[in-house]
Amino acid sequence: MIRAIEYYLPETVVSTADLAREFPEWSVEKIDAKTGICNRHIAAEGETSSDLAFAAASRLFASSACSPGDIDFVLFCTQSPDYFLPTTACLLQHRLGIPTSAGALDFNLGCSGFVYGLGLAHGLIASGQASNVLLLTGETYSKFLHPRDKSVRTIFGDAGAATWISTGSGAMGPFVYGTDGAGAENLIVPTGGFRRPATAESAMLQQDNSGNFRTGDNLFMNGGEIFSFTLHAVPAAVSALLAKSRLSLEEVDLFVFHQANRYMLDHLRKSLGVPADKFIVHIADCGNTVSSTIPIALHEAQSAGKLRPGMKVMLVGFGVGYSWAAAMVEF
């Protein structure tokens, strides 16, 4: 079961008013109406995803009954690792003082990553390979964004989250997963890996039809394609999970989806017929933090008393890949 969640947001804040000044063709009202995001926290120069995850884990150990010595497996979800190698989870094991008898691995997923991480943790625990899993998520997409690309700068923020998963009374699962690599090109950093190494040519600035600027080394998002993918994948994943759980929509106590942007969340909620009071939206003060949105929303829902012990909660992550996953979790 999920025993505790903590998260960390970097200190620097970019407000919607800041962005409206940089992009005068967009107003605060327009950005707010489309994204529901007021503030995005941005990692400092030299501050990496592992720094954010480390800060979140430090909060977890300071606030819960769990200590580094209890952890026997570390999972780190990131697409902005410290190095190509070594594995960032190994660096975090050492930095956090987790025993050398623990397993540790990175996995590269974005907005679906937290739910996949829960699935991995559940498998490790259910098969007797681990007892206390530390699931870390950390992302610094801001370092991929071109400063003149408002289509992504309005949406993404940086964050790290730490989740302690162990045996206990609350059930985890079932899980459903989905993958469609045909959508890879719609949310991508095209260059900088081995398929297309960064070159002088890839660093050339281009302008798109909506007036945004980026290079091949920056993150590109085709918003229309991503929205279209979501309309297909998410309702189908919700139906599949309900069927696998033998539950009706009404029997689920709370829905926590990846916090992509408020416009998308509102549309999904209405099309699925989920009442607003059962649907968590927590995006205004952190933005879309990729794999950390769900643990942040869960933490805040607990703090606000909306998520209480015994509740059946549906989690759905979806995005880059394309990759998606849904899970039923009892708190």
């Binding site: 327009k30 909506s210 007036g211 918003g223 229309g224 279209s228 309309l231 549309h267 209405k270 099309s271």
Partner: protein
Amino acid sequence: MEKTELLRELDGVFELEAGTLQGDEVLDDIPTWDSMAMVGVIALADRISGIKLNPRQIGACTTIQELMGLISPQT
């Protein structure tokens, strides 16, 4: 959905005053025809017709009239 009602919905998507669009407008002539309007059109089709459009279908349209045919074929 009635044609007039659909045009008013599209006014909202394109952030225009209600009653602006008549149907014969060329999309590329509308200053607010951008990636955000594209998302708005996809959401509108899903909401009123349950049709899940992709951007390539929408990109093949040149006028509001053609767009209306995609969003709500019965109109």
